[in-house]
Symmetry: C2
């Protein structure tokens, strides 16, 4: 044990977060009081939503304050415990932030079983990422067997899972991703029926060609917004459901406003619905989803990739991989060995 | 009986329909065959949706073909009947189009009772207009007592009814309209709690001021799209429902694409829903809505205004009143006296 490295928000970014938007500081390792535990953070989850947390704008959670440790989901090891619910050596998930050590009263912690799944899985398929794919697709999208499901950001952590859960549900799964390599991977390794490279293909044309005449999209899980949302809106059919999960294409927009979906009147013509959701609303049902996902993994029906970068100091540049499309699967930082 | 004056679509308009987009022709009065009735059209309903029917774009009904009589809801009188279900002197509603006489096999006709309500009411509160307000607000918006309901195009035929039905449901009704006179009328004569003149007020500011801190919009019935949709999206609260009924601000847009709602990410943050609907989907339930509306009218809880213009030849310019905001209440043409 040396010191606690913390990544603090130094300034609210305009556009993509820059190095100068962060302060990397070394603090003393904190000492737990009665009822508290000292945690060493092993894995830090990097999520597209982080860009929103850095903004002052009203959202579903308060913004991270300037000077505060950046908010992040984490998997940690209990080092010292003055709380009877935890013992040294336990592994726990929580929201400890981008730092190497943290104190917790335990209320936000959940003990995980390293024998049930490898530790990084608790931040990907069994963490917020998996819960987002599971509840977003099944509860908001309500796909029925035989329907056509499209997901954008399909090579991302959430997207990979959405396509696979769509297949498990008996749907046709179509992914939209940003390279031919990613598309090949989605079809060959993740069982997508079709993948469209939006950088080299016209999304509407490719969708319509794949679907065939008189066919359309029933469920669209949107991670990206922008032109791709418009393209998919142009191909929906009656009673379609659009799940607004994110808008990566717009998060770092500096014009101060998002590009809205020009094609939104397709909702009227098709009696369709566009609905936002926040995964935390389903927190009481996480255990149900976790046991379902573990079962699917055991049956070989559900795979997830983790893209693990070493070293907490890499956080400012590693985060940018989410917005440049440089990563596949779940991006996380390993800040200590187990 | 002289001749049948018909208004036919001559060209697909770009932007606002021009005089040259119409042909006014005089045809012979048609003769009914066995099973048919000859109708004299008394009232012709003018609806914002007509602009969509004139476009070649895919929609929930096929476009009106070039050279075809313009589609319109009508109230007619049976002049001659070779169909046992109808007798001369009956009044019927149907979709006879913008012409002074029409033949029908009777399948699309419904006999109405001139004693239950004045005839023009069958094209307004008891017609498609009323059905749109009733099912759009109650079935898609699902307002609960105490919620805040906003309607745009509030002085229009649908808007006036939406606000009044919101009040009947126990909600706070807020209208957005295009003049101070219209706003005064909504509050004084239609019982709206608040009306905002979007031409002289900033809609977001006025909404937030009226609602007060920590409050927001639960249901928005959108007839107009564009900037007003964005403004209201900025004031929604958790689980809000946005009913996409129309987008008058965009119908005559010549850029070829609608302005999308830039603020659509408010749906995510607020776990809100934006949903399109087409009133024809509720056709089996029209009788339920009609009897409810008649009851509310009898109890003095529901008023409607009809803006009746004389003469079928005025159709090309009368239609434009819908898009310039020149009318209040239900716009219709009287093409013959009863």
């Amino acid at each position: 044990m040396s010191s606690n490295i913390q990544i603090k928000l130094a300034a609210r970014p305009e556009g993509l977060p820059k190095k100068t938007d962060w302060n990397i500081v070394e603090a003393d390792i904190p000492v737990p009081l009665d009822g508290e535990v000292l945690l060493q953070i092993i894995y830090i989850s990097l999520d597209p939503a982080m860009r929103g947390w850095m903004s002052a704008a009203r959202s579903y959670v308060p913004p991270v304050r300037i000077g505060q440790v950046m908010r992040a989901m984490t998997l940690s090891k209990v080092i010292e415990s003055k709380n009877p619910k935890f013992k040294p050596g336990d592994f726990v998930t929580g929201t400890q932030g981008v730092q190497s050590y943290a104190i917790s009263k335990g209320e936000d912690l959940a003990v995980v079983d390293p024998k049930m799944a490898r530790l990084p899985k608790y931040l990907s398929v069994l963490g917020m990422t998996g819960m987002t794919a599971y509840f977003g697709l099944l509860e908001v999208g309500k796909p029925k067997p035989g329907e056509n499901v499209v997901v954008s950001g399909a090579s991302g952590a959430v997207g990979q899972l959405v396509g696979q859960i769509a297949k498990i549900t008996g749907c046709t799964a179509i992914g939209i991703a940003g390279s031919q390599t990613k598309c090949k991977d989605l079809v060959e390794n993740y069982g997508f029926d079709k993948a469209i490279d939006y950088k080299s293909e016209d999304v509407t044309t490719s969708l319509l060609k794949f679907l065939g005449k008189g066919n359309g999209i029933d469920v669209y899980f949107d991670n990206v917004g922008g032109d791709i949302l418009d393209a998919v809106l142009g191909t929906i059919r009656s009673r379609a459901r659009i799940i607004i999960c994110g808008a990566i294409s717009q998060y770092n927009n500096t014009s101060g406003e998002s590009a809205g979906p020009k094609n939104y009147m397709a909702l009227l013509v098709n009696r369709a619905r566009m609905e936002g959701f926040v995964v935390f609303d389903y927190i009481d049902r996480y255990p149900e989803a976790v046991s379902q996902m573990v079962k699917w993994m055991a049956e070989g029906k559900l795979k997830s990739t983790e893209d693990i970068v070493q070293g907490i100091e890499t956080f400012p540049e590693t985060l940018l991989k989410l917005y440049s499309g440089a990563n596949s699967g779940k991006l996380m930082i390993q800040s200590a060995s187990v």
